[in-house]
């Protein structure tokens, strides 16, 4: 009996995400389900534009949680990702409290005595009020839990990865002056990577590793259906088949799901009902982002369009 429930809940994940307009494959749904169950982050890899970031948004929307996003880039450090002391505020407070300080220290005769009294008040300036929480710390402080999206982790430096390890495995951070801060509710963590560089083994070990590739034809049709509701069934089938053919070519940047959706919108705007040679030629720049790719595809258009419309007759 225990065996039946999980499958049902994986389906629940699938339908939950679908309600937010994210059509997930079985593997993605399993990953999301497991991430919840064993409280592990998901490391999502795959080509650009297959919906890695979108997945995090969909999860947040589905579970009604706040999404906190940390965009990684080279040179990102602790002060920008984790926390920072509000130096200006500390400085300002010392200025304002100057008189008060005089009173506190008033009784002290010697410098030593003054220092001893000051020690009792010293920690005031390194308390929570003076900490500026950055995305990672914010995520831990959400009372309801949240979805923490660490986007394009491969763009950050190797040192930053090590900084993440504590958060990823135990959902806690250590601030020297304050001690260890644990998460109020464990956040759902999604890391995305475009495989620009190899991530460290320590980081990978802490995550579920999910690879999202280009979807299968049926799945992609469903994605288009959910994202661009106005499109006719004939056109949808044809354009997805066309894109799958384009992906078989040796291109610099293959069209991914986001391009498919864009193209579908464009075709709907142009009020197309069927894929035509001229129309494809005119709108190819939506699909392909490099001049050389467009040139490589142009001679193939006629064959692909013919194939796409033929496919519609049979399938």
């Amino acid at each position: 009996m225990a065996d039946i429930r999980p499958a049902a809940s994986i389906e629940a994940v699938e339908s939950g995400l679908a309600a937010q307009g994210y059509i997930a494959s079985r593997q993605i749904a399993t990953a999301v389900y497991l991430a919840q169950q064993i409280e592990k982050p998901i490391l999502v890899e795959g080509p650009a534009g297959v919906g890695k970031t979108e997945l995090a948004k969909a999860i947040a929307a589905w579970r009604g949680l706040k999404m906190i996003r940390l965009q990684c880039y080279e040179g990102l450090d602790e002060a920008k990702a984790l926390y920072e002391w509000k130096y200006a505020k500390q400085l300002l407070y010392t200025q304002i409290l100057k008189d008060k300080l005089g009173e506190v220290l008033g009784g002290a005769e010697t410098l030593d005595a003054a220092l001893a009294q000051l020690h009792d008040f010293g920690d005031v300036f390194f308390s929570k009020e003076f900490v500026e929480p950055r995305p990672l710390l914010q995520a831990l402080e959400q009372p309801m839990g949240c979805v923490l999206l660490i986007d394009e982790i491969d763009k950050s430096d190797a040192e930053f990865e090590s900084l993440l390890l504590e958060i990823l495995s135990d959902f806690q951070v250590t601030i020297p002056e304050l001690g260890t801060i644990s998460a109020v509710a464990a956040p759902t963590v999604i890391l995305t990577s475009n495989s620009e560089r190899d991530l460290g083994d320590a980081l990978k070990r802490r995550c579920l590793h999910l690879h999202i590739g280009f979807p299968e034809q049926k799945l992609e049709e469903r994605i288009v259906e959910s994202r661009v509701p106005g499109i006719s069934q004939t056109l949808r089938k044809q354009m997805v088949s066309f894109i799958h053919d384009v992906r078989t070519l040796d291109l610099k940047k293959q069209p991914s799901v986001s391009e498919t959706i864009d193209w579908a919108r464009v075709l709907v705007l142009l009020q197309a009902t069927e894929l035509g040679h001229e129309m494809v030629k005119d709108t190819l720049n939506v699909l392909l982002k490099y001049e050389t790719d467009i040139e490589a595809t142009l001679p193939q258009i006629t064959t692909f369009v013919a194939k796409a419309s033929r496919q519609n007759v049979f399938g």
Binding site: A2, D3, I4, P6, A7, I10, R26, Q27, T30, A31, Y33, L34, Q37, I38, K40, E45, Y87, A88, L91, D157, A158, E159, R197, D198, D201, K204, R205, L208, H209, L210, H211
Partner: protein, 455 residues
Amino acid sequence: MRENLHRFFRAARGAGVRLSPAESIDAMRAVAKVGFAERGILRDTLLLTLAKTQDEKKALGECFDLFFDLPEPSQSASGSSSDDESDAGQPHAPESAEGEGQPTEGLGPLAQMLLAQDRNEIAAAMARAAGAASLSDIRYFTQRGIFSGRVLDQMGIQRLRDDLDALAASNPAVAERLAAALEGLRDAVRDTVSQALLLYGREETESLRNEILRNAPLSRIEPRQVEQMRRLIRQIARRLRERYSKPRKRQRRGHLDVRRTIRRNAAWGGVPFLTAWKRRRRDRPKIVALCDVSGSVARVSDFFLLLIHSLHEVVSDVRSFAFSGHLMEVSSILESNTPEEAMAEIMSKVGFGSSDYGGSLADFEKQWMSSITPQTTVIVLGDARSNNLDPRADILRRIAERSKRLVWLNPEGRMAWGFGDSEMPRYQTFCTVVRQCSTAQQLERAVSDIVATYQ
């Protein structure tokens, strides 16, 4: 089932997926959540928790399919053989049916099982026997015979043989059926053992083969080994990348970067809350490689070029030149083609002539001398056998003066240097390092040392 998972982890390690105990614990926890009911979900779960790269996912997926298919091939093998047998035995069946009741009485369990043709029973017995014979310890293909024997022993083949002997006298028809069934069983066991070898023995076999390959002279490996060698070279490249592509910046403690400190603290009126320290940047290696592609050196050059050009992350700039009679730049050919195509193209343009070191060095000086900077390591790969032509060692001297280091890699053994038409002693005087380089292992050490000088 827990036992099965453990065996699967071992099989996965055999397939080259690195699994730490922590990962297996995670996988266990995950599997406990999803259960074993649905195969697809179980597969996805294991793939999610265990594999960490796309390659590993593929290897693990194949391993999964192989592992959880294990009982089926053996079943079908025994099934098909017993089908054949039953087809052939069909006409005899009615007449022997009456007499069958008695002879099976005195037979051993294995014989009864085989005669009853209960496939599930046979498969289960085989799985039990495989467990008892610790089939998962199989490592090398030479052990196949031993393990097949052990499994059959465990299943009770001895008793079966006795039964067979007894039956041959008393009931030849049943004996014939039994003998045929035994043949089928042998096949099935052999299949099971082969599969186990595929699952558990891959790692050992591979590492043994790689070990042999690493120490084999590159110039004399057989054509069928070339593909394996390429794979090995790629592995070496990955290892070097992992070792040397780590942070390029190192903090120099104690040297304050005044300019950056002031700028960073501008918001607090120049009160230095945050300090910035000077960093020292490490250079990435710049390499100019001159490779002899004539005759026996060609293959070593091939692998050397493959290795150097797969070090993108570690080496910032590589320019490769190939020569035999004359010299040309081959960097772009190597970058834009697959290794096989590139080598074929290079060979068709330069290759297999009689080598002329002097002429090639002169070609290099004329056109590309300016590519050498004081940060460049120049690597020459060749046997320095110049067919008694002018060696032009003076050009090599000028190259050595312009560059950071001049490394000469010679596939020949030290003993051969200087004999016959070898100009090695004369070139040697201008080189920073000279080393023999004829096996993959020596190649790895040589390249590793070159990269390490930049760290």
